[in-house]
Subunit: 446 residues, 2 copies
């Protein structure tokens, strides 16, 4: 069964082959080659020019991977009611977000704000000269940096952004002669990765030139080694905050056995566990990213950048911990998420991917700040739904229903068979084999 | 332009609507409603029964979000040559992975191993009784746990997995009367989320019953509060390790200006920066997840779980740091990635999503362990490519080419226009507006 290409079959020039030829090479690994090619092609967009767009987002593309595109209705953020597009393959995430959103839509909605939108880039270098001199002329260097990038920054400045500040940092205790110039950017509604990296590479050239030419330096101070120049995905000051809040009584209906106040206290306890225990914190935060990534993908944002920033931020106090916090005070339950979210609504894929563009229109063509707040709200919505289930009925009930439907589809069940299966599996264990057995028996009987 | 539903338009019963009706409600938010519906439908699979599968993975689905599905050839892991499926929207990631893989295929390939595959679940509870008694009867409790879940574990045990161990942990200093039972599982080739959660919820019931009935406890010790029962996405012992290694001389060709040894030393310095600086570490690790997530998605694995575990693991020593390390010794360069990867090759979406199933066949239907090693290799491949670019020519050159192609596609450029644009933009700044201007001028001239 496992047909693996062995080392002597290294493929040369694969990237230069036509898509059809790549497809054939891939299909050679499959049991049924013709079927494999047909399957791959069945996922192509029927409009060739559209398909070409997808093909060129990435390299060596042979097909499109489908991820379900759904919507969560009734997401009320700062009194605006959004229908939020979500792209996610995991069952229950959209349902959970929708359920939370619906609940909070009747209890004041999500209250969100953007704390800041700073993006960061760094030029890392080693230099053996006199540190005092460097600090002395750093203002001149900054001036040179700005001058060298006027053509790159002009457009960004006309949109209200640009370079905010330069910092000279040294970390000699950790790496000898190691400095970094940390640059803060405002990229307005764009993610700004290309803008920032273009500026940084320009700064690096300017830096080298500055050491070479400035009169303050001695001959032996004229060389520096640029280690690298690159934006940072860690954006602790590109930060959104969102909370929900209501009096205990409004939580009364959330569980049959708990009063609103009891629910609030149990919820608080569950979040406290996520604050002190890394095993729980990881899963707790994962639930937040279920919602946030789904919005990020649907709007053409880079979810890996968002994940990296958020999880690194979760360990900012020396221990990986929960990104949310509960406050119980004066008879009120308040639940807050604070999370770095470097998102954009212009540039990148946002206007190039037809569905990403559509998603943004669905949200009323929001600014980056507005999108940050919406995404944060979805993160809180998903986490709230998860913790709510966990401290009440458990999560398996909801999950199992979706899992059952997926398995039933696998066996091409009729609507009638599905109805019978749903009845049967209330109280019975759902697994691939139990469902298979049930369907086989059902068909045998028929 | 922004048409947003205001609070008084809360939608009731949205999830119960037919897909067509959901589509209409969503389209109402768009400028051109008919076009919007057509666009959504254009992304449906032409085979209705297949489309139904995608629709039921998630909820409130109205379409499929396309993400490019490509392949990285020549990925040699432990002397087996794989063609690795990657699902990713970001340009340059597949190209970078392929380029690294090609280079290392001629220098020993990726050497990988799985350190362990432990999965973890927790039952969190509060109990006010005598701790000594609890420890005294914990073995009996474990026995009860196992007995209560024999029907759930039977199938997993027949595949060689099951429950490995139970630990009783208390954290009174942080939360009064708070205990957790930490359970270690072996889920063999499945991700095992449903299996673990089903066991845990059963343990919770058993635990309550145990306190109620065991003769050792006094009346006032019979109540306990189950806070929650849930698997952990933090899997520091579900760990893969992968490295590449070669003598300095074999790195000679990687840069025009650096010898192999100089390249190795500069590379080491760049990784050292990622070890000590959170701003750099976050981006450094993000590059690893570019490759890993692309494989995870293509094979039907949950990338959010993988991201959460990996980034939490990156902060395990109290400071968020690089997941890779360089060793320069005896004239050799060795680069290692160690990363938790809870992946599965059976269950979940792996066999339900037609392309995920295809991806696994492309890899020779690997075991979960084998897939962990392949994914880890791709993570190292992408990170190596990124650091290599950063310490040599910078990353903007490669990125800009892909970005240019994307923008050109947006303007429906002909092959001839594309060729002219590629020539022109060597050395000119690529942005949406500069490309737009160039194409407009070109067409004006024509």
């Amino acid at each position: 069964m496992p047909k693996r290409r062995k080392r002597d079959f290294i493929i040369r020039g694969f990237s230069k082959l036509l898509k059809e030829d790549k497809l054939k090479i891939v299909a050679e690994l499959m049991d049924n080659q013709l079927e494999a090619v047909d399957l791959m092609k069945s996922f192509w967009h029927s409009d060739q020019s559209k398909q070409k767009i997808f093909d060129e987002f990435s390299e060596n593309t042979i097909s499109n991977f489908y991820i379900p595109y759904g919507v969560a209705p009734n997401v009320v953020v700062n009194d605006t009611n959004y229908l939020v597009p979500m792209t996610i393959e995991e069952s229950s995430v959209v349902a959970a977000a929708s359920s939370s959103a619906r609940f909070w839509s009747e209890h004041g909605g999500f209250k969100a704000k953007v704390i800041d939108t700073e993006k960061v880039g760094q030029v890392h270098f080693q230099w053996k000269g006199d540190k005092k001199k460097l600090h002395e002329v750093f203002d001149q260097m900054k001036h040179q940096f700005r001058r060298a990038t006027t053509s790159i920054t002009a457009n960004m400045e006309s949109r209200g952004g640009g370079i905010t500040e330069f910092y000279l940092i040294d970390k000699f205790t950790e790496i000898p002669d190691y400095y970094q110039i940390k640059i803060v950017f405002d990229t307005v509604d764009s993610m700004g990765a290309n803008f920032i990296n273009s500026c940084l590479e320009e700064f690096a050239l300017t830096l080298k030139d500055f050491f070479q030419t400035h009169p303050i330096f001695e001959d032996e101070e004229r060389d520096c080694t640029i280690i690298m120049s690159i934006l940072s995905n860690y954006t602790p000051r590109c930060l959104a905050e969102v909370y929900v809040e209501c009096p205990y009584e409004e939580l009364d209906g959330l569980d049959n056995e708990l009063t609103g106040e009891e629910f609030a206290r149990k919820f608080e306890l569950a979040v406290k566990v996520a604050e002190i225990d890394v095993y729980r914190a990881t899963t707790h935060n994962k639930g937040i990213f279920n919602g946030i990534d789904a919005v990020a993908i649907a709007t053409g944002n880079d979810f890996r950048a968002i994940e990296a920033a958020g999880h690194a931020y979760a360990s900012k106090d020396g221990k990986y911990s929960s990104l949310t916090e509960v406050e119980l005070k004066d008879g009120r339950f308040k639940y807050t998420l604070r999370i770095p979210l470097a998102m954009g609504t212009v540039g990148g894929l946002t206007s190039l991917h037809p569905l990403a563009k559509y998603s943004l229109e669905m949200l009323g063509n929001p600014s980056a700040r507005e999108l940050m707040m919406i995404a944060a709200a979805l993160g809180l919505a998903n986490n709230f739904a998860a913790v709510r289930s966990l401290v009440t009925k458990g999560i398996q009930i909801g999950h199992m229903k979706m899992h059952l439907m997926n398995i039933l589809n696998h066996f091409n069940t009729t609507e009638d068979e599905k109805a019978k299966a749903v009845d049967y599996f209330i109280g019975h264990k759902v697994s691939f084999s139990t469902v298979e057995r049930f369907i086989k028996n059902l068909r045998k009987e028929a």
